[in-house]
Symmetry: C3
Subunit: 472 residues, 3 copies
């Protein structure tokens, strides 16, 4: 595949030539990755030869029978054009002896970076330095041995590829397609650094939202402990520490969920106001706002998690030992008071806040489902917006109503403010209300039309001295 | 890529030639879409030049550095073969000056329709009229800026493409592949109309089922209000309006869920009987039946939603203020009666209807999970049928048992029929029972074998005068 | 497309040539599959002619208008290179008359096997025998008519293809791509056997785990019946048979879920110890261990299912008739005792085991979500391990704590051991504890480092007499 002629005649075969003309592919190394790679290649109809330093040591059956086992020299010599380097990068140098044999061949570097921040060259670049006459291509390191063995069942697994050799890239891309992967060209070999680090990343897009949610939880939980346990204990020596385990968590979770949900819709409003104020959409948002906007999905899912847990916790309440205790108390001690409090209003209240809660959670779970990649992919942009924004605000409204109905009668009794501090649900409901109000403002005709025009490309004169023609 | 020679030499590169030989791609427009498009193209290793009327107005950093900013003339002149028209269609005419510069080049129309029903030509067709010497291709409008920026992570996002120029189509398809999308050829430019409307659709397949479910809910809710609140209030002045919020909803939801679930399996039975009666499967079903059959998934999911909500509502019952009230009553007033009613039968009843309910909901949720695209894709047809039909009928049976056990002893007391009207759950259980009975009939050997033969292609003589050979 | 010249000139067109040069494709057969195939082909811009024995019998509108209907001879004569055999294999022979017409053309066999274990040749191989001069390709049988009609929306549906003719395979692969499918080359025609059986498989990877889980359930349920119902009944004539329906199920489910969850992590530990003991990772695991390791996902999901059902069942408890009964009893008969038992310890206990349970279930559901294909695909290996292993062990720990807290005070009363048999939750908690302890051992520095070195390729001397260089 080194002469243009050959490569031409192979062209028509789309992704297949490699297997049709079946040029043997060599794999240097006999580890898990080498083994899985060989399995997949064979399954894709490619002839594979594995080169290992101690061949006789490889247990029979470790590799499929179709695979030929040779020492490294033999393997390289058999490879028509492609050689996978399935060794740890620190052993690359040990192959310098094969330099001439590898000349003109495509070396695929499948190694990962040792740690997140690479100092100096990437493995692929070092390999290229060691074998200047070979075409070094970075790739397949983002694919796990497990995916190699099982096969990306929906053929959707991306294989990031980069190289300075277009010829080499071309061959690897074809092979990747044939193996049922989805090759993505990342450009020149300098991109290898990024590709080698990719497998080390640990949910980067989640860290921020998780931290925020966790801090919120700490705040509300701490506030609850102070207000509901410590102060009463210090003041009246009333011991309620058992509430730490469940009650307080169940008090904090809804607050966290509510605030987080508000944080999902806050940046959008902020962006809108920014556009209105600057009178154009061509001014970039500050980066912190951009980041925030990109984390909305994660925030939303965390909010859903909190809400769901709150739901389950609440449903657990009647199961608790203490609840039986309370009923008994109600009946003997607190009966009169309770039946007194049991006004129709009280009943209505409980009915309403429960149904608002259930419905809110229901809508939130719809949102969560549509945020699944496979579901979201089936939605067009309008549907996505309808679900995420439309249903989202409905969920927010229902949650707020849930909170307000819950706190209804308490809110107006002085007993609700022991030690002159408001109950946590009042703190939690502030931001969501602000968000909701701002949103309503944006729906005012005058503002709405202006915003739509801006989003459609219109700009207030001060921004564009040019003639009226707008660009999308 | 205008000469066969070039195109030949590009062939082998599979999806890569555009980037290997790196012909610059031009984008006219500097809006969000243009920006996202540029980002994605650069990420895919394509050289991009953006043409804007007021270049100096574009804030630095809006586009990646790799992107060259020029005025429109300059951009077009640099583009080797591909030009993206990222303007609003109403501004196409403003580019007439570039007609000669654009001649022979591929113009990609990425615009959406303004409203659902297009009058006259589609944007792409109008563009083709304006630039008769260019190869106009419709595409990428179904992809959102968001998807362009993040990249279709599972490389599965479809890009609908149509054009009268096979040459142009070819180039755009290659580019789409390279960008990690999944191009789908929709045929000639006349298909542009459909493609331009696609992004405006709002869950077309859901409207029908949602309406049906909603009407069912209205019916059962109204019936409940009449029977459980209005009549008692008018007759005995017994005030139970607080039940509107939660009780009645929780009474109606299961009824809706049950009937909807029956509606999922009804059309299938209908189709089977139709085939049995006509003795062939080559007669098409009436279109209403076809539509119904295609909406079963949505109906099933709505039924699941209803059932799930019913479950949560029911679990909320003990949390209600009123329930405490009831317990107290039970103990003081109704105690004797209650302990009397508390026969072993009563206990068994409650145990059974609860467990049937839980199991039914469990099976339904399995169905819901398998209806997720990514899960369904991993099932072969037999597995899919086993889950959807087999488990589906189990869920239906369990739900019916749930209802019957629930209504068991009530059903035979005269108190269950106040004002001589049956309770709603009795109404709800009728259709499901019919479905179940019909289904059982279909399992009778005689009918079953005949149906299988018909489905395998056999036909009763009157349908096919020809010799015995059957086609699949 | 039979001359290299033609095929060359088609090459560059990537997946499109078939439609660009639009060589008509023929479909023999007029059944559902033929119809859906035609629909999809037309939608993909391919010219289609359908050949049927009784054309006049085909109802108008059964096929799209773009499709031409001919008798079989006519259809075959029109087909440039591709002919789909959409007949039942038993009718292949009836086409022998067309042998000459079909010579040199690609015949695509889309048939499934009649039963799981094929005796003799596969359909495709028999077809190849009947038409020795045609290029027989196996394919598309794994795609259902439904998928053909709706289109694999995320273009990820795999089409398994095999053939002895590379030329034929090439054409079919191109066509499959064009239709939006993901062709996978399975090698020579001998692979047809496997491909034809694929659609008949019924969740092969689930059978094992389901059986195990079911047996576990039977054991715990039986044990519960014996200990909780039969023996009391026989000994004290105490009738508690009503507990069969819900109580006992809810007692067995958590036990099953807990043990199953332990079974998810057991094989991993076993493998680790094996590697430590043999001092190398190049020795293959026994096949039973391999199978077990590959079934962990299914076991985990079943465990989640059990846990979720247990959760719902438990939340149902207060709804039961009997619970009201119990409250009443508590208050009248058992009041004194109960209030006595109601120590702070008891309250703490109930609070803790409830919250552990809820949290455990929460973590498990996170695991379940990430095991969805579309979600898992977005995770890299490190993230996947973090979720599945890290969170998994947290879930296991929480579940164990849930069980221990639950059984806390009972465990130390003699009443907890009626008939000298331990309660089922004690049996259930044994294995999980063992797993947890073993896991902790593996975290001991000395063992941990050694294991990591082994996994990185290091081997104890006795395994490799060679020099120090290690292969990945």
């Amino acid at each position: 595949m080194t002469t243009p002629l050959l490569s031409d005649s192979e062209g028509p075969a789309d992704a297949l030539p490699v297997c049709l003309t079946s040029p043997t592919v060599a794999i240097l190394g006999s580890g898990d990755f080498a083994r899985s790679l060989a399995l997949r290649l064979v399954a894709s109809g490619v002839r594979v030869v594995v080169g290992s330093r101690c061949v006789n040591r490889i247990p029979s059956g470790l590799f499929p029978d179709a695979v030929e086992l040779r020492n490294q020299e033999g393997a390289v010599s058999q490879a028509v054009c492609l050689v996978f380097m399935a060794l740890f990068p620190e052993h690359y140098c040990s192959l310098l002896g094969l330099q001439s044999a590898l000349a003109g061949k495509v070396l695929v570097d499948v190694s990962n970076a040792a740690e997140m921040n690479i100092h100096g060259l990437s493995n692929a670049e070092r390999l290229a330095e060691l074998f200047p006459n070979s075409l070094v291509v970075k790739g397949f390191n983002t694919v796990s041995t497990w995916e190699l063995q099982t096969g990306a069942h929906d053929g959707s697994r991306q294989v990031l590829i980069c190289s300075n050799s277009t010829e080499g890239k071309k061959k690897v891309v074809q092979l990747a397609r044939q193996m049922g992967f989805h090759p993505v060209d990342m450009g020149g070999l300098s991109a290898a650094r990024e590709i080698e680090v990719a497998p080390l990343r640990l949910l980067p897009s989640w860290s921020g939202p998780v931290v925020v949610t966790f801090l919120l939880f700490l705040f509300f939980y701490g506030y609850g402990v102070l207000l509901g346990i410590l102060l009463p204990f210090l003041a009246q020596g009333h011991n309620a520490f058992y509430r730490l385990a469940l009650d307080l968590v169940n008090e904090s979770l809804p607050a966290v969920a509510l605030v987080t949900l508000a944080l999902v819709y806050f940046p959008g409003l902020f962006a809108a106001w920014l556009q209105l104020w600057s009178g154009t959409k061509y001014r970039r948002f500050p980066s912190w706002l951009d980041n925030w906007l990109q984390r909305r999905k994660q925030l939303g899912l965390l909010s859903f998690l909190g809400a769901a847990l709150h739901g389950v916790y609440s449903l657990c309440l009647p199961l608790r030992r203490i609840s039986l205790h309370r009923i008994v108390n109600t009946i003997f001690i607190g009966l009169v008071c309770d039946l007194k409090c049991l006004t129709t209003l009280g009943v209505w209240r409980s009915e309403l806040y429960l149904s608002c809660g259930v419905l809110g959670l229901g809508v939130l779970s719809l949102l969560a489902v549509t945020s699944l990649p496979s579901v979201g992919n089936t939605l067009n942009w309008r549907e996505f917006t309808f679900v995420q924004s439309g249903l989202g605000y409905i969920a927010l409204t229902l949650s707020i109503m849930h909170t307000l109905f819950f706190g209804w009668d308490f809110a107006f009794h002085i007993e609700a403010y022991p030690f002159y501090m408001p109950p946590s649900y009042l703190l939690a409901v502030v931001l969501p209300c602000i968000v909701l109000v701002c949103r309503c403002f944006l729906l005012l005709p005058c503002i709405f039309t202006r915003l739509t025009r801006i989003r459609r490309g219109w700009e207030s004169k001060r921004n564009c001295p040019h003639d009226g023609k707008r660009l999308m």
